[in-house]
């Protein structure tokens, strides 16, 4: 009995803390804040925290809504018609707000073999140019998104009975946040050069 008990307890590995797997992301944010000026650091940490809490809320909300709809459909034979459209609206916001945080975590996948092989100075320049390219795309999407807003406000989202503007708004807003995060990264890149 005692032998088997000790074996089992030795085998029960505590669940892997997400910090371990996600350390890159969180450590990265910490390093970024350490190098920002104090006022900016506070504002930025506030923005990131607010975005992350919103993401958590949105994620829980759509998971709960879809589950409730399934339960209601099978248990009460009553389909909640707006869940599909509402969950899709939340999803667009979830992706667009998540994309900015992902940029700060360094999670967007790119091809880093060639830049990694460059000498440090050239590498920093190339990284800065890459961030400029990211920013240009964001500006193009903000411009296109704002253009799309006019017609979108006039249209209605058929599943929800609200204006299509609300979900489409995620595009310009999300890319504006992305642009902000790209500029933070650029600033940090430039400071690293000056240092």
């Amino acid at each position: 009995m005692s032998t088997s008990d000790s074996r089992v307890s030795a085998a029960v590995v505590p669940p892997v803390e997400l910090e371990e797997a996600d350390a890159g992301g969180r450590r990265r944010l910490g390093e970024q804040w350490a190098r920002l000026p104090l006022a900016w650091r506070r504002a930025d940490a506030g923005l990131v925290a607010a975005t992350q809490w919103t993401l958590c809320l949105v994620g829980v909300l759509f998971a709960a809504m879809i589950t409730l709809e399934v339960v209601s459909r099978y248990v009460f034979s009553f389909s909640i018609y707006f869940v599909n459209a509402a969950a899709r609206l939340l999803l667009v916001w979830f992706f667009m707000l998540g994309a900015g945080i992902a940029l700060r975590h360094g999670a967007h996948v790119g091809f880093e073999l060639l830049t990694a092989a460059l000498p440090p100075r050239a590498r920093r320049v190339v990284e800065l140019v890459a961030l400029v390219a990211v920013a240009v795309f964001c500006i193009e999407m903000i411009y296109a998104g704002l253009h799309a807003m006019g017609p979108a406000w006039a249209q209605s989202e058929p599943g929800l009975g609200i204006s299509l503007g609300w979900p489409v708004l995620a595009i310009p807003v999300g890319f504006a946040f992305l642009l902000y995060h790209a500029m933070v990264m650029m600033w940090l890149r430039l400071r690293a050069d000056a240092a």
């Binding site: 029960v12 979830f94 994309a99 996948v109 310009p172």
Partner: protein, 428 residues
């Protein structure tokens, strides 16, 4: 001509390390806005409609589910239970690794979350039981590829959405047999290696009371794949609904089990899911812009005509695709490859008369092999950073597994029933 310019912008941005979604997006949006002077609304609408999709919701939900199943202590219980059954055998831990990856594959949908949640636990267990670190890390990297092949699979959802008009349910069913083939091959390889290397410590049988108790603990986890796969294949749920129900179920089980699931666990799981799925979302949005441009310019059709004029048969075409994907897989991550190439290559396969599901499976599985092939393989990177094993020895140790995976893909090309038999059987 202008198309050459967007190709150039795309390659230039990729080479300097711009994230692929942004490089594709920059090339596509610059072409629409500046070279064509089209209405900017088109651009925003393309992006918006790519993200505003109910099937796409399954991606964040399955990622949440994988993390929550770990935090609710379901995975550690599973591993201990398997250890009680397989610990008697030499190489038992290696078999546990493969079998738990196959069982967990029925819950999580991504290889990356497999490594993040289950992978670390397994590597710890194996090294503690006396297996060499490099072998443990390599085996775990290889088995994490089973996750996205056995249903559910985020990779297949992404493929189906990128291509359009492919049934996710049918692809899921089609993945089951290749996934099991991967697993069985890995078991045989583990048998040979652990025997030859005399790895691991053989463990005594558990008492029947311990075993009974552990079995009770593991039942809630074993019910999950039944709920998810059963729900999808019987038509009770859509794929997205099954993921949401799985999340709700895991949270309820987590709240009832002894170290209770905390709010922080839910927060971590959703945040992690947001970051990982937003990356896929950006790729899908940018990919939708580019694939619209390619269709608009008849590039897809021209390429199809060219390939058809070369008179390679359907099998020749698929083998060419496999080789190209294996090479690209060494350099790029799986999702960007799927989003950039699947909308281009799948319609051509259709013109050859290859079934959507068959081609899709070969495509997705080949891309997934790229996750463990050097120099760029996200799973290799993650395993290496978790274990501290350097990339070179890890890549060498993974190589035999890559060979087996490639053999399975070639078998899939030559024997379509490997993929098509099961979906037909359950009427998808």
């Amino acid at each position: 001509m202008t198309l050459a310019v967007i190709g150039l912008i795309f390659f230039a941005t990729i080479v300097i390390g711009v994230p692929i979604a942004f490089g594709m997006g920059l090339a596509g949006s610059t072409w629409i806005l500046f070279f064509q002077g089209m209405e900017p609304t088109i651009l925003a609408r393309r992006f918006y409609y790519a993200l505003n999709s109910f099937p796409l919701l399954a991606i964040p939900l399955f990622i949440m589910l994988g993390i929550l199943a770990d935090r609710a202590r379901l995975l550690p219980h599973l591993v201990v239970w398997l250890q009680m059954i397989l610990g008697r055998l030499r190489g038992g831990m290696a078999y546990i690794n493969v079998v738990s990856a196959m069982l967990f594959a029925g819950i999580s949908g991504t290889a990356v979350s497999d490594i993040a949640s289950l992978g670390r636990t397994l590597i710890q267990l194996m090294t503690r039981a006396g297996y060499p670190m490099t072998y443990s890390a390599a085996l775990t990297s290889a088995t994490s590829i089973i996750g996205p092949i056995i249903p559910p699979s985020v990779a297949m959802i992404i493929y189906a959405l990128a291509v359009g008009n492919v049934s996710v349910g049918a692809m899921f069913a089609a993945g089951a047999i290749p996934g099991v083939l991967f697993g069985v091959g890995f078991l045989v390889m583990a048998f040979v290696t652990t025997r030859r290397g005399r790895y691991g410590v053989v463990q005594p049988w558990p008492t029947s009371r311990d075993f009974f108790r552990q079995t009770l603990r593991v039942i809630p986890l074993l019910a999950l794949p039944v709920i998810i796969a059963g729900g999808i294949f019987s038509g009770v749920f859509t794929v997205t609904e099954s993921a949401a129900v799985g999340v709700a179920y895991t949270v309820i089980v987590g709240l009832c089990s002894k170290p209770r699931l905390r709010w922080k666990d839910v927060y971590d799981a959703t945040l992690y899911s947001a970051v990982v799925s937003a990356v896929a979302g950006m790729l899908l949005g940018a990919g939708a812009i580019v694939s619209w441009i390619l269709t608009y310019n008849r590039v897809t059709q021209d390429l199809a005509d060219l390939l058809l004029s070369l008179s390679v048969g359907p099998i020749g075409y698929m083998l060419i695709v496999v080789v190209v994907l294996l090479i690209l897989g060494m350099l790029m991550d799986a999702v960007p490859i799927m989003i950039a190439l699947a909308p281009l290559l799948a319609p051509i396969a259709k013109q050859y008369g290859i079934s959507d599901v068959h081609f899709g499976l070969v495509f997705v599985v080949t891309c997934l092999i790229g996750l463990v092939t050097p120099p760029v393989g996200i799973i290799l990177f993650m395993t290496s950073s978790i274990t501290g094993v350097k990339l070179e020895p890890l890549s060498l140790a993974v190589f035999p597994f890559v060979v087996w995976m490639t053999i399975v893909v070639i078998l899939m090309v030559f024997f379509p029933p490997l993929t098509l038999w099961l979906p037909k059987l359950i009427g998808l």
